[in-house]
């Protein structure tokens, strides 16, 4: 099943990033095929969040290339990359606290409307019509994560699990092709993690490609087609879950020494 190059949604080659003296990421290379669920794991400080930040445009890499849908997006600013179809969530949520749940998701739909300052300020009909459409789209995204009942609540009223879902709904607003989840299962109770897994499958059915950075091993093992393991900024393993689980390098990285 040799996949031709442009069947890979995301293609990362030799990606490196350092901050001052710290080499957060060195020479990371792999590809994400369309419609798959790929996960990245690794001990703390391995460079997983840096990776997400670099791909999504928050940081500019020092070396290497990122190709998305065949196009070179290396070093482009975050909002440009987002508009091209890469969405993400944040480990620390980064929700908009002064907006309600629905409004948070509507921000996600920002790129799907065009009304400018003047159109909005003068409340032109075109702007109002777009607003209505965005509201509907946002409600759809909320419904997908099961939160339509909370649409008008302020963020502070939601527990962590629901806030994470808002983050996902928000990223969905852009109708991205690739969705990167940064530690989505962190801090969630068991049933919430199950719900998350179901949601992820649902999203893949709808045509999304998922990239998940996670700590929660069972969660990751059960979902992913392939797993990438990072340690100290370098890729030390890649393959289907069973292979990775048995890989000695991986075990060493996590436990710090060989397990006899």
């Amino acid at each position: 099943m040799g996949k031709p190059a442009d069947d890979f949604l995301l293609d990362v080659r030799g990606l490196s990033k350092h901050f001052g003296g710290i080499r957060a990421m060195s020479g990371v290379t792999f590809s994400i095929p369309q419609g798959s669920i790929i996960s990245m794991i690794g001990p703390n400080g391995a460079g997983k969040s840096t990776f997400v930040n670099v791909v999504s445009g928050t940081h500019v890499p020092d070396a290497g290339e990122v190709h998305f849908k065949g196009e070179d997006i290396t070093g482009l600013p975050g909002h440009v990359i987002a508009a091209k179809g890469i969405g993400r969530t944040f480990q620390l949520l980064e929700l908009f606290d002064s907006l309600s749940v629905l409004e948070n998701v509507m921000v996600g739909c920002h790129t799907r409307s065009r009304s400018g300052m003047l159109a909005c300020g003068f409340s032109l009909l075109s702007a109002l019509k777009e607003e209505k459409r965005i509201k509907e789209e946002a409600m759809e995204s909320l419904a997908m994560v099961g939160l339509e009942g909370r649409a008008h609540d302020p963020i502070y009223r939601l527990p962590l699990g629901e806030r994470k879902l808002v983050g996902i709904a928000r990223a969905l607003g852009m109708k991205p092709k690739l969705l990167m989840l940064d530690e989505p299962a962190g801090g969630l109770a068991a049933h919430e993690v199950e719900g998350l897994a179901r949601l992820i499958h649902l999203l893949v059915e709808r045509g999304l490609t998922l990239f998940i950075v996670e700590h929660n091993m069972p969660f990751v093992m059960s979902l992913s087609r392939r797993i990438i393991v990072l340690d100290e900024g370098m890729k030390i393993a890649e393959g289907p879950p069973e292979e990775v689980r048995a890989n000695e390098e991986v075990i060493k990285a996590y436990l710090g020494e060989e397990v006899c």
Binding site: S56, G57, T58, P77, G78, H79, V80, A82, A83, G87, R88, F90, E94, L95, F96, D97, S98, L99, S100, L102, E103, M106, V107, G108, H110, T111, S113, S115, G116, M117, C120, G121, F122, S123, A127, E130, E131, I134, A151, H152, R170, A171, G173, M174
Partner: protein, 329 residues
């Protein structure tokens, strides 16, 4: 989050009230209210910049002053009547603020404040130094009054309606803006810039647009102001004005759009009261006694009521809404 039926009623009531005031009150009140429209309106655009968009710019009086000077100079030299001069001034200010804003807005927090403060002083000093053009330290005198299609605005009442029309128009525009996708974007990047960017929002561009927009509004207000006074002088457009605007924003509350206008109302009337009662006791002081008083007031409010009056009002309303009905959209 701006319940539509309620605010339409509120708008109607306010407009009626404002229109009615000159009919029932004397020229003193009208004069004060006129200044409230001007400075309160200025505070509103500043409040947007500071309170909602999170940009701490100390340069607002710059746009106010430039607008006033441009339209004043053009009118004085007979090049353009004030209404046209205001528009030219607004375009000029829009242009300048766009160019200056681009590099400036990359600065964060304190640094932006310092840089814009520097800008403020530079402009103020320069206005005073460019004698032949701007009338130097004494300023421009005898600026012709505003006239629209032959009708010349001469009395306080005329300018009252003009300034309130401008103030309310700006307020209306801003309300629409904040209720739309642009407003959401603005609130989003002041909450979390990185998340906003990941949603495709070009944050630097946005900040620049908001900056320019508020500058243009300030410029228009400035043109009306100098026409009203028939006079412009560098001293008006300096740091004390900025502090006064900030006072209005703080007292009224920076998180809402109407807060600074409310703050303007409170501040201007308090000033009148101070002058009435203390003016006899301390005849020489003027602006600095105000500064003292308002300094204390700012400290008190920032410590005990950080959301300002409107923040407090909004919480009351919220409480009322929750007690008497569901919180629905």
């Amino acid at each position: 989050m701006n319940g539509a039926p309620q605010s339409k009623l509120l708008w109607l009531v306010s407009i009626v009230a404002i229109t009615a005031i000159p009919l029932v009150a004397g020229s003193y009140v009208v004069g004060v209210m006129c200044f409230i429209a001007i400075f309160g309106g200025l505070a509103v655009s500043m409040g947007l910049l500071l309170g909602q968009a999170g940009m701490f710019s100390l340069a607002h009086p710059v746009w106010f002053g430039l607008g006033g000077y441009v339209s004043g100079i053009l009118a004085l030299r007979g090049i353009a009547p004030p209404w046209l001069g205001s528009i030219i001034g607004a375009v000029f200010v829009g242009f300048v603020s766009y160019i200056i804003g681009a590099p400036l807005l990359r600065l964060k927090g304190y640094y932006l404040a310092c840089a814009t403060f520097g800008l403020l002083l530079i402009v103020q000093i320069s206005l005073g130094q460019l004698g032949p053009l701007t009338g130097g330290h004494e300023g421009l005198m005898g600026i012709p009054p505003f006239s629209i299609g032959g009708f010349v605005l001469e009395t306080d009442v005329h300018y009252y309606y003009l300034s309130w029309a401008l103030c309310l128009a700006c307020l209306w525009f801003l309300y629409n803006l904040m209720d739309s996708r642009m407003g959401r974007a603005i609130k989003s990047f002041s909450d979390s810039e990185v998340a906003a960017k990941s949603m495709g929002i070009n944050v630097p561009q946005f900040k620049l647009k908001v900056f320019t927009l508020t500058a243009v509004m300030a410029s228009l207000t400035g043109s009306v102001y100098t026409c009203y006074l028939r006079f412009a002088e560098p001293g008006i457009f300096g740091f004390p004005l900025q502090v006064q605007l900030m006072t209005m924003v703080i007292i009224g509350g920076g998180k809402t759009l109407y807060g600074p206008l409310l703050g303007g109302f409170v501040v201007m009337w308090l000033k009148e009261l101070i002058h009435m009662y203390l003016g006899k006791v301390l005849p020489r002081m003027g602006a600095h006694v105000d500064a003292l008083f308002f300094g204390v007031l700012i400290i008190v409010i920032l410590i005990f009521m950080p959301g300002g009056l409107s923040g407090w009002l909004d919480r009351l309303l919220d409480l009322g809404r929750r007690t008497f009905g569901k919180t629905s959209g």
